[in-house]
């Protein structure tokens, strides 16, 4: 009971701050718009139709994953600020387990990222992505799972570093390779062998594959297989996060 209230307290703080910081709200609206319209439409004009979909629609699931990935990973930097401003001390001396503190923060970050996810799903309806209510629910759940895994990774990195600058550096080495080798921007079916190997090792590949399967019906692996891999990955990431918070 008190653990649940602890999780709720930490989450509630994150949620309140999210709605109060206008910059966070605005950037979570602007950046996906830029990607879908500028990138999708721009590159789309030079690329042929892929699997019967325009490029803009083809990369839509990839863009959705990317938006959630970026927001989720970067969320880890707030833990560094919390520590710098000494705010975190109050939470760390509270009689609440570190696992609960982690859970609260993680859910806070996932909420943050999923606000963007929901916004993206709504845009999808308007640009002609075939989204039925069932597809919307499945896509939402898949994005949530990705977000939980990635927020956890971000928090692990944040819990182990002391400076926001160091965090940006490390996160760039995690984020860009994960994104580029996930098949978010291109189909993974006919890649050179080395690239196919790299994408197969990248957990995000399965997230993108699942989402594309759910939304467009184009998937390389069975969706339950994708989802199972993401789930295992999320569990490992959360475990690492809890360990990181215990040592903090």
């Amino acid at each position: 009971m008190s653990e649940i209230e602890g999780i709720y307290a930490v989450w509630l703080r994150e949620a309140k701050i999210y709605t109060r910081e206008k910059e966070r709200l605005i950037s979570s609206v602007i950046s996906p718009l830029l990607w879908i319209f500028a990138f999708g439409a721009g590159v789309g004009s030079t690329v042929n139709v892929i699997s019967g979909y325009s490029y803009q629609v083809f990369i839509y699931p990839g863009i959705a994953v990317m938006a959630v990935l970026f927001t989720s990973l970067f969320y880890g930097v707030y833990i560094i600020w919390d520590r710098k401003l000494d705010f975190l001390k109050e939470v760390l001396v509270a009689p609440v387990s570190r696992a609960s503190v982690f859970a609260g923060k993680m859910l806070g970050g996932a909420t943050d990222a999923m606000m963007q996810g929901i916004f993206l799903l709504i845009i999808g309806i308007f640009i002609g992505v075939p989204l039925t209510p069932l597809v919307l629910i499945q896509a939402f759940l898949m994005l949530l799972l990705i977000s939980i895994a990635m927020v956890s990774i971000g928090l692990v990195i944040g819990a182990n570093l002391n400076s926001p600058e160091g965090f940006s550096l490390v996160i760039n080495f995690v984020m860009w390779p994960m994104f580029f080798f996930s098949g978010a921007l291109f189909p993974v079916s006919n890649l050179p062998a080395w690239l196919a190997g790299v994408t197969a090792l990248n957990p995000l590949t399965y997230g993108v594959d699942a989402l594309r399967g759910i939304i467009l019906g184009i998937n390389q692996f069975p969706i339950y297989y994708d989802a199972a891999i993401m789930l295992v990955f999320a569990m490992i990431a959360m475990g690492a996060g809890i360990l990181g918070f215990r040592r903090m």
Binding site: S2, E5, G6, Y8, A9, V10, L12, R13, K16, I17, R20, E21, L85, D86, F87, K89, E90, V91, L92, V93, A94, P95, V96, S97
Partner: protein, 317 residues
């Protein structure tokens, strides 16, 4: 014994911040930690409240080992940190509500406790403003309100009244004393205001270089060390011969003035003046905890000093 440490030590690399410290604090006591900047007070409190792991040694708070039973320790304590730690982006009331949840205050008491502490620190009117619009003193008050709100068994206060106006300070001390009595709460506090320690604390420990230099009630310390203080101005004083007088406890020179701690000035002043010879100026006052503090820790400011200082002073005594 509510707090007990055994050879508790914390090292930061080569620097020993808390050095083999042994300490016992009884239930219901208001215990003061005094010491110059960098003495190790905050480090000691951080270990006792489980945010910092000791390098060696052991300690128990409310009977629980601070390393092995950290979560039980955390259930027993409240703390006001030296560094501000209220959340800027929440309102005062939201900060308190969050604390209620984190520290497991029973649901039916929550609202009442918030109102109670807000009125003690006089923040009712600003309670619903964001903390980043508060003045420094108001933040401090909010922090204090938060630390006492869940009525902890042991309360740690690291320079709680720093930057507070005298009215608020009085108010807060009255409340803490009342709470300590009513709920048999134990308080461990650090402060640089000697009057505060004198007025509030049952016992004080002066610590320096991570070690306890002396520990006793403020009254006993004053009797033992300070006695009365005589301030003298004189050309070419003969300090050594003054030191030899049996009622003179200590002589210090500063800015061309002599400060003598002597036993019972009314009895010995006349005799003292026969030994000093002609003087330009004399002033007598009764000793304070401030004198005790300076006697044990010297007058120099710490940051500029090298490692050797501690031993030099030990040898002198």
């Amino acid at each position: 014994m509510v707090i007990k440490t055994e050879a508790l030590t914390k090292k930061y690399g080569k620097l020993t911040a808390v050095d083999q410290l042994n300490l016992e604090v009884e239930e219901g006591e208001i215990f003061g930690l005094l010491g110059p900047n960098g003495a190790g007070k905050t480090t000691l409190i951080s270990m006792l409240c489980t945010i910092l792991k000791p390098t060696s040694g052991r300690a128990w708070v409310n009977g629980f080992d601070i390393v092995k039973e950290a979560s039980k320790v955390r259930k027993s304590i409240g703390i006001v940190f030296q560094q501000p730690s209220v959340d800027d982006l929440l309102t005062g009331r939201e900060n308190l509500a969050m604390h209620n949840l984190l520290f497991g205050v029973p649901r039916e008491l929550r609202k009442q406790r918030i109102d109670e502490v807000l009125s003690i620190v006089n923040l009712e009117k600003r309670a619903d403003d964001l903390v980043n619009t508060y003045s420094g003193g108001m933040r401090r008050r909010l922090e204090l309100a938060r630390g006492i709100m869940h009525h902890p068994k042991i309360l740690f206060l690291d320079e709680p009244t720093l930057g507070l106006d005298p009215q608020t300070r009085e108010h807060i001390w009255e409340y803490i004393q009342e709470l300590a009595e009513k709920e048999c709460m134990t308080v461990m506090l650090t402060t640089h205001y000697m009057e505060e320690a004198e007025q509030l604390c049952d016992r004080v420990a002066i610590i320096d270089y991570g070690k306890i230099v002396v520990l006793d009630s403020p009254q006993a310390l004053k009797n033992k060390i300070a006695g009365d203080v005589v301030k003298l101005k004189q050309q070419n004083p003969d300090i050594d011969s003054l030191r030899k007088l049996d009622y003179v406890k200590n002589v210090q020179e500063k800015d061309g003035l002599l400060y003598l701690s002597i036993k019972d000035a009314s009895k010995h002043l006349q005799d003292l003046l026969t030994h000093t010879g002609p003087i330009d100026f004399v002033e007598v006052r009764s000793g304070t905890l401030n004198d005790v503090f300076l006697h044990y820790t010297g007058r120099e400011i710490r940051e500029a000093e090298a490692e050797g200082g501690f031993w030099e002073r030990v040898m002198k005594r």
